[in-house]
Amino acid sequence: MFKFTSCLLFATAFVATVGLAGPGARAADKTLTVYTYESFTSEWGPGPKVKEAFEKTCGCSVNFVSVADGVALLSRLKLEGAATKADVVLGLDTNLTTEAKSTGLFDASGVDVSALKVPGDYKDDVFVPYDYGHFAVIYDTQTIKNPPQSMKDLVEGDPSQKIVIEDPRTSTPGLGLLLWVKSVYGDKAPEAWAKLKKRVLTVTPGWSEAYGLFTKGEAPMVLSYTTSPAYHMVAENSDRYQAAAFSEGHYIQIEVAGLLKNAPDKALARDFLKFMVTPGFQDTIPTNNWMMPVSETSQPLPDAFGKLVNPSKTFLMSSEEVAENRKAWIDEWLAAMSMN
């Protein structure tokens, strides 16, 4: 049965869809293609401002290609392989860098990172950090009057006060918590998880779902970043949500960027990485990416940032250690969390 009219309709819609995809190349002579994650390029993210600032100095045009998150970035690179059109990849975190390096797609950054103020002593000649954030338990001050003061408090606390956490298999904060518990408890991590399980309301696929549940009041605690309260204080004028400072220390997530071997204009890419650690870029980090800058910003940070938890100790495992042990540690976590 051939429906000629519907074939026609389909063809029209088809053409419209392809047309909407938009042409890939923009105008201008030099183009820098930056692969990054979606929240970076959204209109409140740092992306638009970074683009504007860089384009002023480079005489080029910046083309952002955004994917869901840091993990998707790596997957996308692996999929594209050497044919990738990326010049710069921005948004991986330190847990992913070993794997990223093993793709063989990245080249030395040529940027001196020694002057950067990143807790945890991160040093790498391929990847350049551009922001960081410590993971922290965020709690609702209206419900919880005595927040946990340490990881031990969290693990052994009152089971009726629940926390929402993320799944380490599908999200970076989830993996971050796993590594944090591992850093604090070492070999005793499974027992710690078994205890913590009683307080876990649910394990969500990603940060969005967890935070959504938290703000809806389903649980009074959630695993997020020390900078989360800053958003509520600055954008919503509310200090209802605060971070709990843990005495053992906090695990850190450092976000990095790198340039690709096959980038047609490596000098331009390198310029971008250098630009990344200058105020022109770093200014956008606090109130657009809601993370901590790695170097000087032209203005001091907003007041709200002064009220944030500033961890005394920072946990950071090397990328190689994480890559080696991740599967085993996740299995351990699964076993502990699946017990009834």
């Binding site: 049965m1 051939f2 429906k3 519907s6 074939c7 309709l9 389909f10 819609a13 088809f14 419209a16 869809t17 392809v18 909407l20 995809a21 938009g22 890939g24 979606e38 929240s39 390029t41 959204s42 209109e43 409140w44 952002f64 290609v65 955004s66 994917v67 869901a68 993990v71 998707a72 997957s75 692996k78 999929l79 392989g81 044919a83 629940k162 298999r169 599908t170 876990v200 309301l201 649910t202 394990v203 969500t204 696929p205 990603g206 969005s208 779902e209 935070y211 959504g212 549940l213 809806k216 009041g217 389903e218 649980a219 958003y231 509520h232 954008a235 976590w333 969390m337 699946s338 009834n340």
Partner: protein
């Protein structure tokens, strides 16, 4: 012979092309994945105790969800069929299509708003003095969410089946003084029994491949499905070989269940009717009115309250601001373009498959090839649901990586969405098509009304309503789907669900709620279009 040779040939060719198209589309993706996987521990992937535990859980929650969805759908469908004129009936039916088009996460948040720890139910229970709030995080939550999403679908399909019963049957039943129990036993149940296997199979597949719901409401990793494992293989571990094997495992497992279901009877002879208007005298009895009213009220509340929760959350956001943003209109246009294309494609494929299957049935020659062809078409249209979109998307991405992916991405997304809605479209179109043909084929054949004229004069008017319903189903499904877009997403290609997720990822839950509301309203409008029109369309054509 009820079909001319030319008609038979055309029908078979159409079916074969569609089948081949589906096979190639899926096969190429899988092939690309396997090619890129290199040496991987494929067998080990299957035999891990973790995977076995995952399989067990997947089966358990899917079976329970299916049973419960169908069990709850039956009384609601009965009530709707019986009370043809209760006020608000049309709205309840339209309401039933909304969960399908809603992004799963938004629906889950709506459910949490009612059933969660801070939800309405718990608030009521606390007022009544119960201390321990009910917790939906666990198997019970997963089942609840699955029922919320799937019971409406089952109900609509069952309602359609009940309404296909010749009007004379109901009049006869009342005339004979049949009590509701007898009516159920002799009229309603045989009809329902013939559509339930198909519905059950579909719901089973949907629940078995459930991802976000299981993870959000499951309460912990004890609740993991094969789909999660597949997702992880591709996202975190990048082990395409493992992903393929797990997908195959999922397909094999579900095929076994579907195979068991296929032994149950298919839609039978639905009887002939002279086209009388549908009236249900048995619905006028006071007992029936009361019972049906109660059931419909409960159903409306069960479905409506979470949606209300989405509405209220959305209204708390700044809708006018959202509507003024150009990105909103861009993403809405993209979403619509994709879903219309996907719906049309799904309809085309379904129609060819349905025609071909009927042509095979009419052949009567009993050749082995024909039987296999018939089963293959049916199987393919259902089993596509079991191939995770991420597998298809990744496979095609790999296959096309030397070309400009961003140009092809929209086409791939349309194709994937079309495939994903195929099972639904088939289940709406095929029964309607079969019954329609049984009623009109002989007459058309004896008068020689074939081809384009038959389509225009006879098939389209009669099938207009099911086609519209199927089309709106397919559109709603495609609209709410984040799936493949997530892999190909880039700045110039934003859809509405993508926009919702991106707001949520930037702390902007209010905006996300607002956008979710808008998405829900669009789905509602679609289903209004899908149930539009009088009960029977009369066409007067003068040549």
């Amino acid at each position: 012979m009820l079909l001319t040779k030319a008609e038979m040939r055309r029908a078979m060719l159409g079916g074969a092309l569609s089948l081949a198209g589906i096979a190639v589309f899926v096969g190429l993706a899988v092939f690309a994945l396997l090619l890129s996987s290199g040496a991987s521990s494929i067998l080990a992937a299957v035999l891990e105790p973790y995977i076995l535990r995952v399989l067990r859980f997947t089966l358990l929650q899917a079976l329970l969800s299916t049973l419960l969805s169908i069990a709850f759908a039956i009384p609601v469908a009965q009530a709707l069929a019986r009370q043809q004129h209760v006020p608000g009936r049309m709205w309840i039916i339209r309401l039933m299509a909304v969960p399908m088009g809603l992004p799963v996460l938004i629906g889950a948040l709506g459910l949490i708003g009612i059933w969660g720890r801070q939800g309405l139910m718990n608030a009521l229970l606390l007022k009544l003095g119960m201390a321990e709030p009910i917790s939906i995080y666990g198997l019970s939550g997963i089942l609840l969410a699955h029922i919320f999403f799937n019971m409406p679908l089952a109900c609509r399909l069952m309602l359609a089946a009940l309404e296909r019963v010749p009007a004379e049957y109901w009049l006869m039943a009342s005339g004979l003084g049949m009590r509701p129990g007898s009516i159920f036993r002799f009229i309603e149940w045989p009809v329902l029994r013939s559509v339930i296997p198909g519905i059950a199979g579909l719901i089973f597949m949907l629940c078995a491949t459930s991802f976000t719901l299981v993870l959000t409401l499951g309460g912990g990793p004890a609740a993991t499905t094969v789909e999660v494992a597949i997702y992880q293989s591709l996202r975190f571990d990048f082990d395409p070989g493992r992903a393929v094997v797990l997908s195959l495992l999922q397909i094999v497992l579900t095929s076994v269940i579907l195979g068991a279901l296929s032994f149950l009877p298919a839609p039978g002879d639905e009887g002939t009717t002279a086209g009388k208007a549908l009236r249900r005298p048995d619905g006028r009895l006071p007992g029936a009115r009361l019972a049906d009213g109660g059931v419909l009220l409960l159903a409306a509340l069960f479905l409506g309250l979470p949606l209300m929760s989405v509405l209220l959350a959305g209204l708390r956001s700044d809708l006018m601001k959202l509507l003024r943003e150009p990105i909103f209109w861009q993403s809405a246009a993209t979403s619509l373009a994709i879903s219309i294309s996907a719906a049309i494609l799904a309809l085309l494929i379904s129609m060819t498959l349905v025609s071909a299957r009927r042509a095979v049935l009419l052949r009567r020659s009993g050749a082995m090839g024909a039987g296999a062809f018939f089963a293959a078409m049916g199987g393919a249209s259902s089993l596509v649901l079991l191939v995770p979109p991420i597998v298809l998307a990744t496979g095609w991405f790999l296959a096309l990586r030397s070309f400009d992916v961003s140009a092809v991405a929209p086409l791939l997304i349309v194709a994937i969405n079309a495939l994903m809605s195929l099972p639904f479209v088939m289940r709406v179109l095929e029964p309607a098509f079969i019954v329609h043909k049984r009623r009109t084929q002989k007459l058309a054949a004896s008068l020689g009304v074939t081809g384009w004229v038959q389509l225009r004069l006879i098939d389209m008017p009669a099938l207009f309503k099911p086609v519209l319903t199927a089309f709106s189903f397919a559109m709603a499904l495609s609209l709410g789907d984040l799936g493949a877009v997530a892999l190909f997403g880039s700045d110039s290609f934003v859809t509405l669900p993508w926009l919702v997720y991106s707001r949520m990822g930037s702390y902007r839950t209010n905006d996300a709620d607002g956008l979710a509301l808008i998405l829900g309203i669009v789905c509602l409008l679609l289903t209004i279009a899908g149930t539009m029109g009088p009960a029977r369309r009369e066409v007067a054509v003068h040549g």
